[in-house]
Symmetry: C2
Subunit: 423 residues, 2 copies
């Protein structure tokens, strides 16, 4: 029995009852012979309440002090969890990100982990303790200031500690049973995925699946740490994310992992761009300088008569205003006609290994959308993913149609496997 | 203009409005040319809410994890205060007790400050920042664990930082205008004291005055740091506590500083103690081993016929059960008859310099109580204090009678000064 890192999100420790339930589960793992490190988020709505307080005293709270404020949330949950474990007769010690050796850069509110030096955690484990670590936080290498890791930071803390401690597995406990073939709120027949590769999980995460964030999966892949996503409310096996299929699952593996969707993006079209070298670069340099991450990019074929082309790209709606401002400022130097902004779009993505080598997949995908009467506005593909942009109103229907077409619905016996038939 | 340490209690920063009001006051001090270090407590009822949560997950929360939990409170208030100051256009940085260099022993929940190494605070000040420091907390020297300083800890943090930074003054902001000659809720004519010596303040604090705690005054006296107790709601001058009277106050100084009272104590009488050497020692060793602090001790004259005596002492009501248990356990070895427990007592203390050398003071004190029909049960005196124990029901009347008798009522022109007249 080796070392296990368990991570519990805010909904699992929302109140005293939740904390006591989680404490029991942790003690079970310990009693099963594991060394246990627990990463915990702030209780329920604590972080939102702290943000609300901050906005009351300052219109633009940010930076060092905002991080100092937010990290109070995990401090509360981790101390309470340690007390609840002690109350069950086991030894537990809580550690801040700094005490746990989570070293980050100095970018407040979205710091990146540079190093993990878990000497105190190792000592606590060696002395027979359960170690409870505050998720989402670290300490900056140069200034020794408290930092936070940004969205999904607690999952990243858990995976980073699992890597530094050479854990057997990083268990991510949440309020759903695992990763599904589609969002169960949209597709009633969505199935829980038993195993998925890091690569497919990365594509699902960047295509709108919210169970695990891209950053955490990326970290786990780099250090080859198996992730087990499961419910803190049930005792069921969840979804394993790893390099190699577990046990006999290899033969059952369908090449299609799932369908993801995302309605949090908007589309900007730069109209009338001179079709000459350097134009696209100038546009995306302006966007990058504004620190905006973009997703899909499509350049239309240039109209020979005018020598002008249109460039469309998608980005988070929250960044829309900033992107428009950044481009307007450079309008003269870039030399385009106008900008169009559209936030009524949605993205549907099909994710699965070996897609590129199975031409039938793309064809079936487009057929399913066409049969459902869904119009496609943009297309983007990778080795293991096809994504399309449609009207936002069409997204749910499109997800259901694709899910059914690829045999992912739970009442079908087996997922469709594309292969030599060339279908 | 030198360095000022300001301390704000929980009631001053109870909500966003309070935090903004305090921020303005801090900025004023900065604009007046001071370097400003601010020590802040947790917002309003935060600490009580955290204690309540702890009790929900564990019946006896204590120690390391309890300290980790409670320190979240100051983290929130200090970060919000720094944000509010920034919002007024001034630079502020918040620091945990650990970051501020508050080094303590390892006694969780009531740690003592061993050393203060405020290097980061000094740097922040030198860079033109206002430094905000979490009160009530430190870091243990040996284990590097987070500790809390116990009751009144934030005041002690402020004085300790003032000493380490060689501050001009330590301003303690609270919700009253200063230290009064008696509790204004009991004595309507109580007056604000303009200046009081460390020694008199120490006696008042240990006699029930709640504005400043004994520990903080003791620290200030040792390092000769003037304390200015004042209201965070008004702009008025409060009470100065220092070695030397300020300015022209010297000539006005009355020898009587004030009347304090305390109804938080109980009395234990050990009945039928053999009157021989070592008996009292055995009793108080049993109490000390249970880590109980006692206040007044009186041993009755032994009855010659029996060779037995009674020993009475007072202690906090909260320790009553523990003391009774500790004594019962040693009953056989100590050899007493029985224990009597009385929690319906009150203590009234008169504090003022030079009391012992003015026999008239004691006489007037007892006369005032007698005239008010108050019966005296125990008496204890020091160089600058007389205390009596009475029935709890008599306390308010007794305080008013003594306050009037010594000319402390605010409509009298001057406090009575006892001296050469021998009265």
């Amino acid at each position: 029995m080796g070392l296990v890192v368990q991570k519990y999100g805010g909904s699992s420790v929302a109140d005293a009852e939740g904390i006591k339930r989680v404490a029991k589960r942790i003690v079970e793992a310990k009693q099963n012979g594991h060394q246990v490190v627990v990463v915990v988020s702030a209780m329920g709505d604590t972080t939102d309440e702290l943000i609300d307080l901050a906005e009351q005293v300052s219109p633009m709270p940010a930076g060092r002090e905002f991080d100092m404020l937010l990290t109070a949330g995990e401090r509360i949950s981790m101390a309470l969890l340690a007390m609840a474990i002690k109350n069950l007769g086991h030894e537990a010690q809580s550690f801040t990100g700094s005490q746990a050796g989570v070293i980050t850069d100095s970018v407040h509110n979205k710091a990146r982990i540079i190093d993990v030096t878990p000497g105190r955690i190792r000592t606590a484990l060696d002395e027979g303790n359960i170690a409870i670590v505050a998720g989402f936080q670290g300490v900056s290498q140069d200034k020794k200031d408290i930092t936070t890791l940004g969205r999904g930071g607690s999952d990243t803390t858990a995976v980073a500690l699992a890597a530094a401690l050479d854990a057997e597995v990083c268990e991510i406990y949440t309020d759903v049973d695992g990763v599904f073939t589609a969002d169960p709120r949209v597709v009633k027949k969505a199935r829980k995925i038993d195993w998925i590769s890091f690569e497919d999980m990365l594509e699902l995460a960047s295509s709108g699946s919210k169970v695990l964030l891209h950053r955490c999966v990326e970290y786990a892949r780099r250090y080859n740490i198996p992730i087990h996503v499961r419910s803190s409310f049930s005792g069921l096996q969840g979804t394993w994310v790893s390099n190699e299929p577990r046990g006999d699952r290899k033969v059952e593996q369908a090449i299609i992992s799932g369908v993801a969707h995302d309605t949090s993006e908007a589309k900007i079209t730069v109209v009338g761009v001179p079709d000459k070298p350097g134009e696209a670069a100038a546009i995306f340099r302006a966007i990058a300088d504004a620190e905006i991450n973009i997703d899909m990019v499509v350049q239309n074929v240039s109209a020979a008569s005018t020598g002008l082309t249109d460039i469309s790209f998608t980005l988070p709606k929250t960044e829309g205003r900033k992107a428009i401002d950044a481009l307007e400022k450079q309008k003269a130097s870039i030399g385009f006609d106008s900008l169009r902004y559209d936030d009524q779009i949605g993205k549907i993505s099909l994710v699965g290994a070996g897609m590129k080598t199975n031409p039938g997949v793309t064809a079936s995908f487009f057929e399913a959308l066409s049969n459902a009467g869904v119009n496609i506005e943009l297309i983007s593909t990778s080795e293991i993913r096809i994504s399309v942009v449609t009207r936002a109103d069409d997204v749910n229907e499109a997800v259901r149609a694709v899910h059914t077409a690829f045999g992912l619905d739970s009442d079908s016996d087996e997922a469709v496997v594309y292969g030599g038939t060339g279908r």
